[in-house]
C-alpha cells in the first residue's frame, strides 16, 4: 500500500516536471520566433485572466462560453444515446436488419460532421443545428459498439439459459443487457469525447456569439492568437477531465467485471 502511494507521488512529480519543461520549451520557441502570432505562455496566461475577469470583446466571460457549449454537447450526446443504444440493441439482436441496410448505414458513418454543416444550416434552425451536428458525430460510435457488443455476447451463456427453458425476454434482460453494459459504457465514453471535440465544428454554423468554439473562431478573425490558444487548451483540458471522470465512474460501476472475466 505504501509503495503504491510513493509510486503515485513519483508519477505526479514526473508529470509536473515534464509540464514545466514543456512550458520552458514553449517560452524558448516563442522567444526565438518573435512573431506576434506565436503567443508565449505568459501572454496566454494573461489572455486567460482577461477571459475570466473581463471576458472577450463582447464582454462574455469564459464560463458563459463553456456553459453554453456544455449544454449543446450534452444535448447532442443525449440524443445520440437515446437513439444509438436502443438502435444498436435492436440491430444487434436482429442482425439481418443491419446486414440488409448496411449499404445505407455504412457510407453515412464516414461523412464528417463538418460536411453536414451546409445541410444543417439550410434545413434546421437555432439550437437543433448544434444538436444535429453533435448528434451526427456521436451517434455512430455508440450505435456501432452497442451492436458489436450484442453480437459478441458469449453464446454459451445464451445457450445454457435457453436449454434451461428461458424465454427470449429473459435472455435479453438477464443475459444480453448485463453482458453488453460495460461495452455500451465504453462506447458512450468514446462518443462523449468525440461530441466534445465536435463543438468547434458545430459552433462554426454561426448566428450566436456564445460558445467555446465561437470564442476560437471570433478570436482567430481578430488574430488574437493568445485567446485562440486559451480556447484550445480549455477544450483539451475539459475533454480530458470528462474522459477521466467517465473512466472512474465506469470502473466503479463495473467493478464486478474484472473479477468475473475468466478468459
Amino acid at each position: 500500500m505504501g509503495s503504491n502511494y510513493v509510486e503515485r507521488v513519483k508519477v505526479f512529480s514526473y508529470n509536473l516536471i515534464s509540464l514545466t519543461l514543456f512550458i520552458i520549451l514553449w517560452f524558448w520557441v516563442a522567444r526565438w520566433q518573435a512573431s506576434p502570432f506565436f503567443a508565449s505562455p505568459a501572454e496566454i496566461a494573461q489572455g486567460f485572466m482577461q477571459m475570466v475577469t473581463v471576458g472577450d470583446e463582447e464582454g462574455i466571460t469564459i464560463f458563459m462560453h463553456l456553459w453554453q457549449s456544455i449544454i449543446r454537447v450534452f444535448s447532442g450526446f443525449g440524443a445520440a444515446c437515446v437513439l444509438g443504444i436502443p438502435g444498436g440493441l435492436v440491430l444487434g439482436l436482429f442482425p439481418f436488419i443491419y446486414n440488409r441496410t448496411r449499404i445505407i448505414i455504412e457510407p453515412v458513418r464516414f461523412i464528417s460532421p463538418i460536411a453536414w454543416i451546409p445541410v444543417a444550416i439550410v434545413l434546421l434552425v437555432g439550437f437543433t443545428r448544434y444538436v444535429f451536428v453533435i448528434w451526427v458525430a456521436s451517434f455512430f460510435p455508440i450505435f456501432i459498439t452497442t451492436l458489436w457488443s450484442v453480437r459478441n455476447v458469449n453464446l454459451i451463456h445464451i445457450n445454457v439459459a435457453r436449454v434451461a427453458g428461458a424465454s427470449r425476454w429473459f435472455v435479453i434482460t438477464r443475459i444480453i443487457v448485463p453482458a453488453t453494459l460495460p461495452y455500451i459504457a465504453g462506447g458512450m465514453r468514446v462518443s462523449l469525447g468525440i461530441s466534445w471535440m465536435c463543438i468547434v465544428a458545430a459552433e462554426m454554423i454561426g448566428g450566436e456569439m456564445v460558445g467555446i468554439g465561437r470564442l476560437i473562431l471570433k478570436s482567430s478573425m481578430m488574430h488574437r492568437m493568445d485567446l485562440v490558444v486559451v480556447g484550445m487548451l480549455t477544450i483539451g483540458i475539459l475533454g480530458y477531465c470528462l474522459n477521466e471522470i467517465f473512466i472512474r465512474v465506469e470502473k466503479r460501476i463495473f467493478r464486478w467485471r474484472a473479477a468475473v472475466s475468466i478468459d
Binding site: 441496410t101 455504412e106 483540458i237 475533454g239
Partner: protein
C-alpha cells in the same frame, strides 16, 4: 456448403439493393411533400453528379480532380501519422514510465479537435503542410494510442517464457512483441485512416486552394446549391467506406493466421 454461403451472400446483396431503392423512394416522396428549393430530389443530385463528373464545377474542376487532390492530402497526413505514431507508440508501450510521466501533456492535446487548430495552422504553416498537419492531428492519436495499448496488452506469459529461457530483450521485442501487436496496429491504422478521411473537410476549410472534395462542398455551400453539396457528402461517405472495406480485406488476408491461432 459453399453454394449455401454463396446463396446467402446474394440474398444479402439483393436485400441491400432493395433497401437502397426504398430509401431513394422515401427521399423522392419527401421531396414531393416538402417542395423546397433547398431539398433536392435524388434525380437532381444524380444530375449534379453527372455535371460535376463531366463538365466540372463552377471553376471547371472535374470531380475526379477534387477526389484525387483530397486523396493525395490524406495520404500525406496519414503517412506522417503512421511514421510518427507507430514507433512512438511502440516505444512508449515498452517504456510505460515515459507515457505515465508525460500524460499531463499528451492527454489534453488529444482532446483538442483538429478544427480548433485551423487558426494556428493558417498563421504558422504554408501550402501542402497545412493540410498534412490537420490530417496528421486527426490520425496520429488513434494510431499512437492504439499501438501503445496493444503493446501493453501483450500476453505476459508469452514474454515470461522466453525470458526464463534466457532470451535477450531485443529477441523478445522482435519475435514476441512485434508479431503479437501487428494485428492491433493495423486495426488502429484503419481507424486512423477513417478519422483522417473525416478530417478532410476540416483541413480543406483552411482555404487558399481551389481543388479538393471539401473545398467543392464549401464552394457550393456559398451558392446554396444543395444538390452539388449532397453529391460531395455522398462521395465522401462512399470513399471513406471503400477505404475502410479495402483495409479490412487486407487485414483479413495478412492475418489469416490469427483466427487459426486464437483458442
Amino acid at each position: 456448403m459453399e453454394e449455401k454461403i454463396n446463396r446467402e451472400k446474394y440474398k444479402t446483396l439483393g436485400y441491400n439493393v432493395l433497401t437502397l431503392f426504398l430509401f431513394l423512394a422515401i427521399w423522392t416522396l419527401a421531396y414531393w411533400l416538402i417542395k423546397s428549393p433547398f431539398f433536392p430530389s435524388p434525380l437532381m443530385v444524380f444530375n449534379a453528379f453527372l455535371e460535376l463528373l463531366i463538365h466540372g464545377d463552377i471553376e471547371d474542376v472535374k470531380l475526379g480532380m477534387h477526389i484525387q487532390q483530397s486523396l493525395w492530402r490524406i495520404f500525406g497526413g496519414f503517412t506522417a501519422a503512421c511514421i510518427l505514431g507507430i514507433p512512438l507508440g511502440l516505444l512508449m508501450g515498452l517504456y510505460g514510465r515515459v507515457y505515465d510521466s508525460t500524460k499531463v501533456l499528451i492527454e489534453p492535446i488529444r482532446f483538442i479537435p483538429p478544427v480548433a487548430w485551423i487558426p494556428l495552422v493558417i498563421v504558422l504553416l504554408v501550402g501542402y503542410f497545412r493540410f498534412v498537419f490537420i490530417i496528421w492531428l486527426g490520425a496520429f492519436f488513434p494510431i499512437f494510442i492504439g499501438t501503445l495499448l496493444s503493446v501493453r496488452g501483450v500476453n505476459p506469459l508469452h514474454i515470461e517464457v522466453p525470458k526464463s529461457f534466457g532470451a535477450s530483450r531485443f529477441y523478445i521485442i522482435r519475435n514476441i512483441v512485434l508479431p503479437s501487436v501487428l494485428p492491433e496496429v493495423l486495426t488502429s491504422m484503419r481507424v486512423g485512416l477513417g478519422i483522417a478521411w473525416e478530417c478532410i473537410m476540416a483541413a480543406e476549410m483552411i482555404g487558399g486552394e481551389r481543388v479538393g472534395i471539401g473545398i467543392m462542398i464549401l464552394k457550393y455551400a456559398q451558392l446554396i446549391r444543395m444538390d452539388a453539396i449532397i453529391v460531395g457528402i455522398i462521395v465522401i461517405g462512399i470513399i471513406g467506406f471503400g477505404l475502410n472495406e479495402i483495409f479490412i480485406f487486407v487485414e483479413k488476408r495478412i492475418f489469416r493466421w490469427k483466427e487459426v491461432v486464437s483458442i
